[in-house]
């Protein structure tokens, strides 16, 4: 690690001010991505602003047809929340499949969504459930949030405060984990909002996206066989050590079909 200044503000406003006044600052949430980056000396921020002391960023609320998760809420809290399990079981299930126990005990939803790792799980839910990302400045629709590899709609210094997930009638998440990191090689969430089906895909492309063709087919006929002839083009898909673009495209089909099967079975 390089040397940096460390601050632990108590409010979002204070965090924003600290950020505005620093030369090259960074927010620290659960640290599961940031700390390894610092340790490997791949980043040299002047200031690390730790969000863990900001009470207003933590917590889960269910009501008004939605589940609101504070940005600093850790993955384990979402996975174990009885309220989330009751309202959107697929979301609790997704959180419980992130990485390993150590990662889930530290990592937070805000950090995960802000980071937009192409292989992260939450982005699939943000997209499939049509979530709203609330920041200290505005609300951003889940459909517009993820822009590219590690790129989101956030402005520099903008702080995610919470994520609001509309509660679907039913939803299911299927993940094909990378055997090394346990991140998603491909993850697909299928959600049914009163006959309107949304499908979010993570792992396959540079960032999470909605699989519109699959949505159309499922909106016409919500069944596993509906996807039998589906073509998932692999253009622009990730192609790396762990999976070719071609294999990822195939997995999108398989995971989507399995998610639909789970959803119909539930």
């Amino acid at each position: 690690m390089y040397q940096f200044n460390y601050a632990k503000p108590a409010t979002v406003a204070e965090a924003a001010t600290l950020y505005a006044n620093a030369e090259d600052p960074v927010f620290l949430s659960g640290g599961q991505t940031l700390i390894p980056t610092l340790r490997q000396r791949l980043a040299a921020p002047t200031d690390v602003i730790d969000l863990s002391g900001i009470g207003e960023l933590s917590g889960i609320a269910v009501g008004d047809g939605k589940v609101t998760v504070g940005a600093f809420t850790r993955h384990c809290a979402v996975a174990e929340s009885a309220e989330v399990q009751a309202a959107i079981p697929a979301l609790a299930d997704l959180a419980g499949r992130i990485g390993d126990a150590q990662v889930r005990n530290c990592g937070t939803i805000g950090g995960s969504v802000a980071n937009s790792d192409p292989a992260a799980d939450y982005p699939a839910a943000v997209v499939a459930l049509g979530a709203t990302v609330r920041t200290d400045k505005r609300s951003i629709s889940g459909d517009d949030f993820f822009r590219d590899l590690f790129e989101t709609a956030l402005e520099p210094g903008e702080i995610i405060t919470s994520i609001e997930f509309p509660i679907p009638d039913r939803a299911a998440y299927r993940k094909f984990p990378n055997p090394a990191s346990r991140y998603a090689v491909v993850g697909v969430m299928v959600a049914d909002f009163g006959g309107n089906v949304r499908v979010g895909v993570t792992g396959a492309g540079p960032c999470a996206f909605r699989a519109r063709t699959i949505e159309d087919m499922l909106n016409a006929n919500l069944s596993t066989s509906a996807l039998d002839g589906v073509e998932v083009p692999d253009a622009g898909f990730n192609n790396d050590l762990h999976a070719s673009a071609e294999y990822r495209a195939h997995l999108v089909k398989v995971m989507a079909r399995r998610a639909v099967s789970d959803l119909l079975g539930a």
Binding site: M1, P179, A180, S181, L241, Y247
Partner: protein, 779 residues
């Protein structure tokens, strides 16, 4: 299973108290007064000429004490790191050794190769300093692919080619003739994937020099402190042997990777002398990936000939072994003497010929890794046998049985230079078939099919060889050292015992098993016995721990030392009992003659307080022994794996694994089970997920746990492990060694099972989901 603490009892490991409570003392836990910190400058290129190194900015930084480069160590006369085993090519010529200076001087040859050391008052200062050193590299074309390395540009200046040796063993003519006359010939192209060892504790070293005495001390993560001292004194010439002490405190795993004499430990010691202050270096995990010697990496073509009845008539194996950029300490022997000699397996194949082409590439050096040559050999033999059975429509278990060496055939001389002393291979096979419920397999296969899964079963009937021996033979074959072991038993005046062994424990549990052996032999309570190891300043000599040799060789040395203790004790007891020593018996810790008795503790006390004592006898009760085994030991067994393959995704689920091993006599069954479990996990890792991969530019693509996939508990089934016993015929304990067997048999068994599920497809390791999906026709 016997109770208590003697031989055969599952005594809980006494070392685990400190390991499991975080109170072990590892190298990085030690600190010396005035200690500084070292950070290595490592090559970012696979092959490049080193130009000017500008360290001025680094040296100007507060807290940076020194920057040493290869020029400095060369100017100081530091010798090259030697390879400890001279292998000769078929034509009788010596292998071609590329000089390996501890710090690269003119050229770097793999990514991560150290070419300098920055020393700082703090680790942060040293790290910062290392980033400020400017090095002019002229990049050269790297050679990365071993398959074409022999015909590629020569990577080392001054050598004619990248060929290290072209080695052969066996009768080629007879083998060719037998193949030509065979009723059936099975052929396969096989590869053995490169593995990265991943000990839980990264390598670390602290070099200490005391100017007043001229004494050097190296604290290091080594599996063999005396060997380290010998090489550093005799070859690298950092310090003379009597002025150098090497201490290996608690060491967190090695799997072979901590046998070798590496650049880093060497340089830390040398630089401590130059600086006049202790220097500590602890590897970052990324350094472990880049610069711990890797394992395996073979490309092989093999042919197995069978007669009309299914009897093996000939096996011919041609292997290209990736040596890496330099010959590591034992890198030459692993793909030759530790590989080719094992190709008879458990079978009476009368004609075998093996040739190994060792090649240099611009990759990390390759050396012994758990199993070292025997997993590679087993993979070849057992893939061939399984494939032959499939091609001939024979039951794979029965084809093996037909060809197995039978108990009455021992001692059995193979066509590839070994003499197996004993074994009962069918006994292990039968037990494994029963434990695996082989008869029920077809029903399970149908059940899996009904759930959309393909099920496969695979065998490996492996043999291995532990405790390279005897020394004379090993040396005649090119080994630079003998492979005996030393042991010393000191009975203290109060009757407690300090045992010194040249074997080194870095996870094996010697502090428990060796105490069981001594307790059993001398009848002294287990808790009164302390096992001391890992310090060249405390024990006379030792060759360390690798190749599953510790108990068979080091344990036997203790038996010989104990026999000397008993012989001397009898003389003392005889004097006490006023008789002659041939009238004294020793049993369960008591000397007796007629109705007179003296405990070994009483005798020990008498030896240190010789009030009334034999005139011609030295006081004290302490004995040493060097034990040189007469032969290798030959553990063997049958492993049976069952897998389920997901047809849609290609995912492989290892659903069951049975291992029945013959390790000879067993001292501590619990520890043996643990060793087998660990080995099986590593074997499953090799078969299913681990792969050290370089890109075409020689950059390591799998340099962290995000990309290098290690097996975890939830990837593995509950292993079913059991043993059969034929006692080793030539060591006093009748033991064979159990440290590597798990990793030796399991890759072949698992791949055979996957191949079975894929209708015989020759799937390569690691059998990743995508590979299996492609084998299933996915596109």
């Amino acid at each position: 299973m016997s109770e208590g603490t003697g031989i055969g009892a599952s005594v809980k490991r006494r070392e685990d108290v400190r390991f499991l409570t975080g109170s072990g003392t590892y190298t990085d836990d030690l600190n010396q007064p005035g200690q500084t910190y070292g950070v290595f400058l490592r090559s970012p290129h696979a092959r490049a000429r080193i130009g000017a190194i500008d360290a001025s900015e680094a040296l100007a930084l507060d807290g940076v004490l020194a920057v040493y480069t290869g020029q400095d160590s060369a100017a100081d006369g530091l010798g090259d790191l030697p390879c400890g085993w001279l292998v000769k090519s078929k034509d009788g010529s010596d292998m071609v050794s590329a000089p390996r200076p501890p710090l690269a001087v003119t050229q770097v040859n793999y990514v991560g190769e150290p070419y300098g050391l920055v020393v700082g008052e703090t680790l942060a200062a040293a790290q910062q300093g290392a980033e400020l050193v400017m090095t002019d590299f002229t990049e050269l074309n790297p050679v990365v692919d071993p398959a074409s390395a022999a015909d590629s540009e020569t990577i080392h200046e001054g050598l004619d080619s990248n060929v290290v040796y072209d080695w052969g063993l066996g009768d080629e003519e007879a083998t060719d003739a037998a193949l030509a006359g065979a009723a059936h010939v099975t052929q396969l192209d096989l590869s053995n994937n490169r593995l990265i060892p991943n000990a839980i504790e990264p390598r670390a070293a602290i070099g200490v020099y005391e100017a007043a005495s001229g004494d050097y001390t190296l604290y290091a993560t080594t599996q063999n402190p005396h060997l380290e001292r010998l090489v550093l004194a005799a070859f690298v010439q950092v310090a003379p042997e009597h002025k150098l002490r090497v201490v290996a405190p608690d060491v967190g795993g090695g799997f072979g990777s901590k046998i070798f004499i590496y650049p880093e430990e060497t340089i830390v010691l040398w630089a401590a002398g130059k600086l006049g202050r202790p220097i500590k270096w602890t590897a970052h995990r990324y350094e472990s990936f880049l610069a711990d010697a890797h394992g395996r990496d073979h490309i092989t073509h093999a042919q197995l000939g069978l007669d009309r009845d299914g009897r093996f008539v000939a096996l011919k194996v041609s292997t290209t072994a990736n040596i890496g950029a330099y010959l590591s300490t034992f890198g030459s022997s692993v793909p030759t003497f530790l590989y080719g000699t094992l190709l008879a397996g458990q079978y009476k194949t009368p004609n075998i010929y093996v040739e190994t082409l060792g090649v240099y590439t611009n990759t990390c050096p390759v050396d012994a890794y758990r199993g070292a040559g025997r997993p590679e050999a087993t993979f070849v033999v057992e893939r061939m046998v399984e494939t032959a059975a499939r091609e001939l429509g024979r039951d794979p278990a029965e084809l093996r049985r037909l060809n197995m060496i039978q108990p009455e055939d021992f001692p059995y001389e193979t066509p590839v230079a070994l003499v197996y002393d004993t074994g009962d291979y069918e006994a292990s096979l039968d037990k494994a078939l029963e434990l695996a419920d082989y008869g029920g397999f077809e029903a399970r296969r149908r059940e899996s099919a009904a759930a959309g899964k393909r099920r496969g079963v695979g065998f490996a009937c492996y043999i291995e060889a532990c405790g390279i021996a005897p020394s004379q033979l090993a040396i005649s074959l090119g080994a630079g050292v003998g492979l005996y072991e030393s042991g010393e038993i000191r009975i203290n005046p109060t009757g407690s015992v300090s045992v010194f062994t040249g074997a080194h424990s870095h996870g094996q549990g010697h502090e428990t098993t060796f105490a069981q052996v001594v307790s059993d032999k001398l009848g002294i309570p287990f808790d009164d016995i302390e096992i001391v190891h890992g310090d060249s300043g405390r024990m006379e000599f030792g060759l360390g721990t690798y190749g599953s040799r510790s108990l068979a060789v080091g344990g036997s040395a203790l038996i010989v030392a104990a026999d000397k203790i008993i012989a001397k004790g009898k003389k003392i007891a005889a004097h006490m009992m006023e008789t002659t020593d041939d009238n004294v018996d020793f049993e369960d810790g008591t000397f007796s003659s007629g109705n007179q008795q003296a405990t070994i503790q009483e005798v020990a006390f008498a030896s240190y307080v010789p009030a009334d004592y034999p005139e011609d006898l030295e006081p004290g009760l302490s004995e040493k022994a060097f034990y040189d085994p007469k032969n290798f030991t030959y553990p063997a067994g049958t492993h049976i794996a069952e897998v389920e393959v997901d047809e849609e995704t290609g995912e492989v689920d290892l659903v069951s694994f049975v291992a029945v091993d013959d390790f000879g006599e067993i001292i501590n069954p619990m520890i043996v089970d643990g060793q087998v479990h660990g080995g099986l996990a590593q074997g499953a890792g090799q078969a299913l997920m681990e792969h050290g991969r370089y890109d075409d530019y020689g950059q390591l693509q799998t340099g962290s746990y995000m990309d290098y996939c290690m097996p975890r508990a939830d990837d593995l089934p509950d292993f079913v492990v059991d043993t059969t016993v034929t006692a080793c015929t030539h060591n006093p304990l009748g033991v064979k060694g159990c440290g590597e067997a798990g990793a030796i048999g399991s890759p072949a068994a698992i791949i055979n099972a996957i191949s079975d599920a894929l209708d015989g497809h020759n799937i390569a390791m690691p059998a990743t989901s995508e590979q299996v999906w492609r084998a299933l026709g996915g596109k």
